[in-house]
Structures are given as C-alpha cells and as structure tokens.
C-alpha cells in the first residue's frame, strides 16, 4: 500500500513538472533584438504586452522550423518594417551610420600622427 502511494505521488508530481526546451540563449538574443512596436522603447524580451507575447510565439515556432536568425529578422522586417529590428542593416542608406565613427577614428589618428610628426622639427 505504501509503495503504491509513493508511486502515485511520484507520478502526480511529474504530472506538474514540465521540462523546458533546450537552453536557448539564441531565442532570448532574438527577443532582445526585436522592438515591441506598441511600447515606448522596449524590446520584445523586456515587454509584457500582448504584441510581445505573440511575437515570442512566432519566433519560437520559426526557430523550431529551423529558420536562421537573419531569416527570422527578414520575415519580421517584411511584415512590420525595418523599425522592428534594433540592429540596422548594412545598406547604402546606413553607410554613414556604420562608418562615420571609423572615419572619425582614422581622421583622429591622422591628426595625432601629424601633430607628433610636426613636433619633431
């Protein structure tokens, strides 16, 4: 009788234990890179809104289907516009965005180099 009770309790406990999916940091990284469109400056990872919850489900499904990160972004950009992704794409439009800091870095280096060189005189 005791054994049966123990077995019963064990089965009952397991009934409520749900094994979570594989350690998916990729999932959370994608959530962090998506903007919650109805919130004021929050990512899908941070937001609790209806929209965020729906998008999380969609992303989870697409990861299960085997889609890559960039395919998922492409899909969402097609539906919602570029605004939904936090990483701006590498395009001609965004050339100055990605390269101006490096241009400044190179220019700064040149200026310092010249200053030192001119000092030698």
């Amino acid at each position: 009788m005791k054994k049966n009770i123990i077995i019963f309790i064990y089965v009952f406990l397991n009934f409520n234990l749900s094994y979570a999916e594989i350690d998916s940091t990729e999932q959370i990284n994608i959530y962090k890179n998506l903007r919650c469109l109805i919130c004021q400056g929050q990512s899908i990872a941070d937001s609790n809104s209806e929209f965020a919850q729906t998008i999380k489900l969609v992303v989870k499904d697409q990861i299960k289907e085997g889609k890559t990160e960039s395919e998922i972004y492409k899909f969402l950009i097609e539906k919602y516009g570029e605004w939904i992704v936090y990483k701006p794409e590498f395009s001609m439009n965004n050339f100055f965005l990605w390269f101006l800091p490096y241009i400044v870095l190179v220019l700064g280096g040149i200026i310092i180099f010249n200053m030192v060189k001119n000092s030698r005189k």
Partner: protein, 172 residues
C-alpha cells in the same frame, strides 16, 4: 584661406543639422504602416471559426476587394467599429473576412449574435500567430486588399466614419 574653408564647412554642416532637427519636430512619432501599402500578402491557411474547414488567403483573389478585419469579443473598440462593418456587409464590390483573434468560440458567437455578423468569411487565429503574417500588431485592425492580394490601405484601430467613406471611395 584654409581657415576660411574650415569655417564655411563647419557652419554649413551645423546649419544642415539644425535644419533637419527643425524639420523633425512635427513628424508623426507613432508607428505606422504606410510603407506596407502596395505589398502583396503571403498565402497561408486559416481555420474557419464555426466549422472545421479551412480557407486559403489565395481564395480572396476571387473578390474585387476584400476587407480583412481582425477583431475579438474582449476588445472594446471592436464594438465601436462594428456598425461600419455591418454597413459594408451588403456592398456588392466588397467581401469582409473576419479573423477572430485570441478569443473563445462561444464569446465570439455571442458577440456576432448581439451585434450582427458582417463577415462573408469567419476565420480564427487563437494563438495570434497567423495575424503576424499580415503585419498585425494590435486590434482592431483592418486591411483592404484588391484581387491581386495587394494591400491598398491599412487601418489601425477602430474604423471611424472617415475610414468608412474612404473605403467606399476606393471600392467604387
């Protein structure tokens, strides 16, 4: 001379920046989907709400115009806009597809019983995931498409009188 050039470049550059800031002051800051007009919606399957059948989005190309309306019984603004959908119900040029969003069948049935059923097709999206394929981000939302399945106009929020008139204009 070099100094003068630097001064001119600096001042022009700054003037340009301040001018852009000035122009940005009255830009609409809320998310809108103007960029989606003209795009073709993808084909996918929807479960029908009251039967066990399915519908494919491609079937909507049979109509001249289709108004896709995403709604739910728990959504208060959906009640407000419902009367415009009823008005559009009998319009020969337009068929309305209703997608019931994250709702319970019984509640949806009650809602339509009380306020009328304007939908030629009644579909459901319990998880909300299908609506993402249409670029939906809040309800109610309505999308007007033509027989090529291209988006003519997206209406965010409940339809009002001017939206209703606009739809009539477009389909005529």
């Amino acid at each position: 001379m070099k100094n003068k050039l630097i001064i001119i470049i600096t001042f022009s550059f700054l003037f340009f920046i301040f001018f852009i800031f000035y122009l940005s002051l009255d830009k609409e800051k809320n998310y809108n989907t103007k960029n989606l007009v003209g795009k073709k919606i993808e084909n996918f399957e929807l479960d029908l709400l009251f039967t066990n059948n399915k519908i494919e989005v491609n079937e909507l190309s049979e109509n001249n115009f289709t108004l896709i309306n995403i709604w739910a019984s728990w959504c208060a603004p959906c009640r407000k806009e419902h009367k415009y959908l009823i008005l559009l119900k009998d319009n020969k040029k337009l068929k309305i597809l209703g997608i019931n969003f994250k709702d319970k069948k019984n509640n949806a049935k009650d809602f339509l019983k009380k306020l009328g059923d304007p939908y030629y097709y009644n579909a459901e999206d319990q998880s909300g995931k299908k609506s993402v394929k249409l670029g939906v981000y809040g309800i109610p939302e309505s999308i007007l498409i033509n027989n090529e399945l291209r988006i003519i106009k997206k209406f965010i929020g409940p339809l009002n009188n001017s939206n209703y008139e606009e739809i009539l204009d477009i389909i005529n």
